[in-house]
């Protein structure tokens, strides 16, 4: 689908005045409400947008802000946009392109794909210069059509994954692993060789298990131990033990073109809260269950 097909020239404005964020939103809301039947409109819609923005930031480093509302019983997707010649400051990010998207509660796929297309576009300076030179809505739609900006129909893991995730090499010590985990606040990470070939994974439980002798794991419970000095071994040996000794070499990973449902299926099946994304043997990303929740389910 063309991005242009989602657009209505009347919902696009080119703004030269110096305006506040609220004023721009108000203007976009007014335009949409003028010719779309929405379950709620006017001030109420504006409040919803601002409220939503509190929950999840909308500004991106490439200079685009994408406020978004999902409305119950609104079975459509409406996209309104404003090109600002005087950028607005979003907590430190200069925003010169604001795109308001209103979708139905259920159609997160379309929304995510529109966002993906917009983000890609916002990073393309040539295309942006071309759009900014437009003098009205019709001209924007026309230019987008000419540029053949597409919105994908399907959503892949590569669309929601973390690109170039933190990873570790098998030769690293547990101390280095420990540092990486606490520094990035992550409970598991992929293990790769120097050429980023995927080898397996190591998680925080693998690390902690080093501190528990195997014989303790054979007991039914440890509630009778009052003062066992825990994890001594871990701290004693963290400079000697290598990641390769504790990592798991399982081959459970996703391809970048895997669907969201496949990722969720694999996560549930293997009780994993994150999966490495591997393309032709090389690690290209990482997708977490939280990504699925944030970027797909509650997006």
């Amino acid at each position: 689908m063309y991005l242009a097909s989602f657009l209505d020239a009347r919902d696009i404005c080119i703004e030269q005045r110096v305006l506040s964020k609220q004023q721009v939103y108000q203007m976009l809301v007014d335009r949409i409400c003028a010719h779309h039947q929405l379950p709620s409109c006017g001030t109420k819609l504006l409040e919803l947008i601002l409220q939503r923005e509190e929950e999840a930031p909308v500004a991106y480093a490439s200079g685009i802000a994408i406020p978004h509302i999902r409305m119950e019983g609104f079975e459509d997707t409406v996209v309104a946009m404003a090109f600002l010649q005087n950028p607005i400051d979003y907590e430190g990010t200069k925003i010169s392109w604001i795109v308001l998207i209103i979708t139905d509660k259920t159609s997160s796929k379309t929304y995510l794909n529109i966002v993906a297309a917009l983000l890609k576009l916002s990073k393309d300076s040539e295309a942006m210069a071309n759009l900014a030179a437009a003098h009205d809505g019709h001209s924007v739609v026309h230019r987008l059509k000419e540029m053949a900006v597409m919105v994908k129909k399907d959503l892949f893991i590569s669309d929601i994954m973390i690109v170039d995730p933190v990873s570790i090499q098998p030769g690293a010590t547990l101390k280095e692993l420990n540092t990486l985990m606490s520094q990035y606040g992550i409970a598991g990470l992929p293990v790769v060789d120097q050429n980023l070939n995927y080898l397996g994974e190591v998680n925080i439980l693998d690390l902690l298990k080093v501190g528990i002798p195997d014989y303790l794991m054979m007991l039914d419970n440890l509630n009778f131990l009052m003062s066992f000095e825990p994890l001594e071994k871990l701290f004693e040996n963290e400079n000697e033990i290598k990641v390769s000794e504790i990592m798991s070499r399982d081959e459970i990973y996703l391809r970048p073109e895997a669907s969201i449902i496949e990722a969720v299926f694999e996560m549930i099946l293997h009780k994993k809260r994150y999966m490495s994304v591997v393309k032709e043997g090389k690690l290209v990303g990482l997708v977490t269950a939280m990504d699925v929740l944030r970027k797909v389910i509650t997006a």
Partner: protein, 425 residues
């Protein structure tokens, strides 16, 4: 004749596989069992009939009982309580643990016993900062000795009990006295071997004394109920004669009642984790293979030879079987050995009175069970204990185990010989 040769070939190759573990034990036995059917040495119906279901269901029943009993925490509780009663003195702990292991093992499968107790020994040795290897070796040995005492303690006894008309009480009457004697003398050996050289600081002792082992009993009600069922089961075992029952139905009913008492919803878990299906199928395969040796007349042939050679001297035959079994089960798994010996001794028994055969059967049991201590690979309990030690960074080499094991085995077999000599002749 050709049938007998094929049967022997299958039997021999299966034995070799079991000994070397080139392929999984259970797979080897079951494959052999079905090959005798495929080669039409034994017809399927006959081969299936050869499976001793009393043994199979006794094993399953006892596994269920133990699964529930283990969950109550009673065994770990007992082990830690024992260590505390020994006032954390290492030598005393070793002696007490030896006795407790032997007693628990009289009622529990030896492997299960060491899987429960060896981790506790490692924990205690770790707390006391002493070498756990002597504990592990002596506990494995104790489990093999204790297992000999009752009909349900060790698979050879289960097999013998089921194949003969001996009751649970007969085993207690004939075996428990000598096993008690062997246990006591083994405690003496343990004392002599390890009396020197283990020192422990008071601080490390204090850590052990502060264990709250009562926390291990999570569900008192379940424990009490389980113990009542186990008590009733043991009573029924002892009254086997009056009840006119084989031992398997008693074990199965007890096991099933315990499963119901425990938690109905967790039955699946017990079936998957606690019933050792590999062992069950191992037995089934062996029964079928051995049937092929009976069918083709090989067993009869050998028994005739033995009678001819021993000149019907039961005394000599008993002692030969005792030492032969002891030697054999030190180098191979005693289950296939006893499964093969049973039809042989039965065949010999047809020429003698029941009373005359007593010493032969008890010699087989004592030799097969106690011989397991002869080497590291003589009994599954040894292999499992050493395996647990290995995973915790303590390497026990074949020679380390064997030089200790041989002392206990010789002591056991000499005492057994004297016992058989004095009591039965």
């Amino acid at each position: 004749m050709i049938h007998m040769l094929i049967a022997l070939a299958i039997f021999g190759i299966t034995y070799l596989m079991i000994m070397t573990e080139w392929i999984n034990k259970m797979t080897a036995a079951l494959l052999g069992g079905f090959l005798v059917i495929v080669f039409h040495i034994v017809e399927q119906e006959k081969a299936f009939m050869a499976v001793d279901w009393n043994v199979i269901f006794l094993l399953i029943g006892m596994m269920m009982v133990m699964a529930v009993l283990k969950e109550t925490g009673i065994f770990q509780y007992t082990a830690i309580k024992t260590a505390k009663l020994a006032k954390a003195s290492p030598l005393r702990i070793m002696l007490f643990m030896f006795a407790v292991t032997a007693i628990i093992s009289a009622f529990l499968d030896n492997v299960t016993t060491v899987m429960i107790l060896v981790p506790i020994a490692l924990l205690i040795a770790g707390e006391l900062k002493i070498d756990p290897i002597p504990f592990i070796i002596t506990m494995a040995i104790a489990s093999n000795i204790g297992g000999t005492a009752t009909m349900i303690g060790d698979p050879p006894n289960i097999l013998i009990g089921s194949a003969t008309d001996y009751t649970f009480m007969d085993f207690i009457y004939h075996l428990t006295p000598i096993v008690a004697l062997i246990t006591i003398s083994s405690l003496g050996i343990t004392y002599l071997l390890y009396r020197k050289g283990i020192r422990v600081s008071n601080e490390n002792k204090a850590r052990l004394m502060e264990y709250r082992e009562e926390n291990l009993i999570k569900n008192r009600k379940l424990l009490h109920r389980s113990l009542i069922v186990v008590f009733l089961m043991l009573s029924a075992f002892m009254l086997q004669d009056r009840l006119n029952l084989e031992i398997a139905p008693i074990a199965m009913v007890s096991g099933l009642i315990l499963l119901i008492l425990n938690n109905r919803k967790r039955v699946d878990k017990v079936l998957v984790n606690d019933i050792d299906w590999a062992t069950i199928f191992f037995f089934i395969g062996l029964f079928m293979i051995v049937e092929s040796l009976i069918e083709t007349g090989f067993i009869g042939l050998i028994s005739d030879q033995i009678i001819r050679l021993s000149g019907s001297n039961i005394k000599a035959a008993s002692l030969i079987i005792l030492w032969f079994s002891g030697f054999f089960s030190a180098i191979i798994d005693n289950v296939p050995f006893v499964t093969t010996m049973i039809p042989l001794i039965k065949d010999i028994g047809t020429h003698f009175s029941r009373e005359a055969m007593h010493p032969v059967w008890w010699a087989l049991s004592l030799g097969a069970c106690l011989g397991g201590n002869g080497t590291l690979i003589g009994a599954s309990a040894n292999i499992v204990s050493v395996g647990i030690a290995h995973r915790n960074g303590y390497v026990i080499k074949f020679s380390d185990f064997t030089k200790i094991g041989v002392i206990y085995t010789l002591n056991s077999l000499i005492l057994s010989s004297l016992y058989i000599w004095i009591r039965y002749f």
